[in-house]
């Protein structure tokens, strides 16, 4: 389960989060949408403990206001640019956490596990020995996904999982996310402004607007609502209540 209560976060005069409250029940996939600069990434960082909220509380996988180091064994995170470690081969990226900390896996065991996880995201064993710089954007995302699920975590976070991908690869990544979260029975939170991801991945949708969860509902409701802010965003309209620069 993921829960946030009255989260507030400011940077100087800029009040990014102004009291965000929500709950994602166990096994549900929530997709948070919002324009650029509305605080989606900040929200994610607060949930992961990477940023400390000025006010409010967070509960992830039963842990209240956890530090990232404590949270690590309970969550998997796919970063926007995959955030793979350049100096390590793919298999060490995938098994990174499992090779460190208490009861670390040995190299042979870790490599076997990495190959298994890579297969789960549609990559062959030959990928394991490559370095991140040798991979395409789509392959990097898959490796990032394999790293996120390496420890079979009960909670998964996805930050703009389809950013920078062509439509076909984006659809592949969305399908993988959906499949894997279902198979793991994981609770998932995805932030995106890709409406295709909303359709493919979400059980429920929330719109972050002016620092709060402005709207929440099902996927069907999200695309059917006549709320002007939601309508403008889901249909990509230049005219509407949210000012656009042209």
């Amino acid at each position: 389960m993921i829960r946030a209560h009255d989260l507030e976060k400011s940077y100087g005069e800029n009040r990014v989060l102004r009291g965000v409250s929500f709950e994602v029940p166990k096994g549900e996939s929530l997709v948070v949408i919002g324009g650029s600069g509305t605080g989606k990434s900040v929200l994610l960082k607060c949930l992961l403990g990477l940023e400390r909220a000025d006010r409010g509380s967070v509960e992830v996988a039963g842990l209240a206001n956890p530090k990232p180091q404590v949270l690590a064994q309970h969550v998997g995170m796919l970063f926007q640019g995959a955030a793979l470690f350049d100096s390590l081969p793919v298999w060490q990226n995938v098994a990174f956490r499992l090779m460190r900390g208490r009861n670390p896996l040995g190299a042979t065991e870790a490599q076997a596990l990495a190959v298994e996880k890579l297969a789960r995201v549609g990559l062959g064993p030959e990928t394991a020995m490559l370095f991140p710089a040798e991979l395409s954007g789509g392959m990097q995302k898959r490796v990032g996904l394999a790293r996120a699920i390496a420890g079979d975590p009960p909670v998964l976070f996805f930050d703009e999982p389809t950013a920078g991908l062509d439509p076909v690869m984006a659809a592949v990544i969305n399908a993988l996310i959906r499949e894997i979260t279902r198979d793991l029975g994981a609770t998932a939170l995805t932030i995106t402004h890709d409406m295709r991801t909303v359709r493919d991945v979400a059980d429920r949708v929330a719109k972050l607007h002016e620092g709060r969860f402005y709207w929440q509902g099902s996927v069907a409701e999200a695309f059917a609502t006549e709320d002007p802010v939601m309508r403008q965003f889901t249909r990509g309209l230049t005219e509407g209540p949210v000012a656009t620069l042209r």
Binding site: K45, L48, G49, L50, P68, Q69, L71, A72, Q73, V75, M77, F79, Q80, G81, A83, L84, F85, D86, F96, R97, R100, G101, R147
Partner: protein, 260 residues
């Protein structure tokens, strides 16, 4: 600009400088604290020993080789004015091991290593790899900063010692081929007048300089701004800071070691 506005600007600038010194000092203390806490990453340390120590040998060696040669020429030209050419080997050796070996070696390592550390860690920050480390239960200070600082602190004294030897060799080559010294006599004169403390003080300086180089690189890398410009700025600042700290520390250490 009115005097009041000028005073205000000076005050703000001073406050910002003091704040920067405070942030840097805090980073140094935090790094030292993380050195004492498990887990340790011996593989990372070995990789950094190779990168910082072994791979810096060519640049330090070439720098000290040419400096030793130039130093011998300069001392010969100066000492000839009062017929003291015999002092060339010993003064070249003392100059190399006490001062030029550690300082020039340190500055060359600052250019090579502080920039590379700042650029690497800065890029990792910009591409969210630092955040990724934290979500994978690894503390970036422990995994990135500690191995680099330890590796630089441990490898710089060795680099200085090797650089000293190569610098003396540079002086020897010039002395024998250009200044007409007998090879055996040059070497004897070089070594007979060197004391243990001359060499040890240079190596201690090397350890301090290594620490300053790596900590500057890590600090500016960890605090890098966004994008290519941010990383570029961090890289430049790391080299400038490391170089200034080396020169300042060199003066203070020389005072501490050799002032009467």
């Amino acid at each position: 600009m009115t005097p009041r506005a000028l005073l205000g600007a000076i005050g703000r600038s001073l406050a910002e400088t003091l704040a920067s010194v405070g942030r840097f000092s805090g980073f140094v203390i935090t790094s030292l604290m993380w050195m004492l806490r498990a887990p340790f990453y011996p593989r990372e340390l070995l990789a950094q020993l190779l990168h910082i120590g072994w791979l810096s040998l060519p640049v330090v060696g070439l720098t000290t080789l040419f400096t030793g040669g130039a130093l011998a020429l300069q001392i010969y030209a100066g000492s000839a004015r009062f017929s003291a050419e015999f002092a060339v080997p010993s003064i070249t050796a003392i100059g190399m091991v006490r001062e030029l070996g550690p300082v020039l070696g340190g500055l060359m390592v600052a250019a090579r290593v502080a920039s590379s550390i700042a650029a690497e860690i800065g890029t990792m920050k910009v591409s969210e790899q630092i955040d990724a480390l934290r979500t994978l239960a690894v503390e970036p200070m422990q995994y990135l900063t500690v191995p680099r600082v330890l590796a630089a602190t441990l490898s710089m004294p060795v680099l200085v010692a090797v650089g000293d030897a190569i610098g003396i060799l540079g002086g020897y080559a010039v002395g024998v081929t250009r200044l007409g010294f007998d090879g055996g006599a040059y070497l004897r004169n070089s070594l007979d007048f060197l004391e243990f403390w001359d060499v040890a003080s240079g190596m201690i300086k090397g350890a301090v300089f290594g620490f300053l180089v790596a900590i500057s690189g890590c600090y500016f890398g960890m605090n890098s701004g966004r994008g290519a410009q941010g990383v570029g700025e961090a890289t430049k600042s790391a080299v400038v800071m490391a170089s200034i700290l080396i020169l300042a520390a060199n003066y203070l250490l020389t005072e501490a070691f050799f002032s009467a």
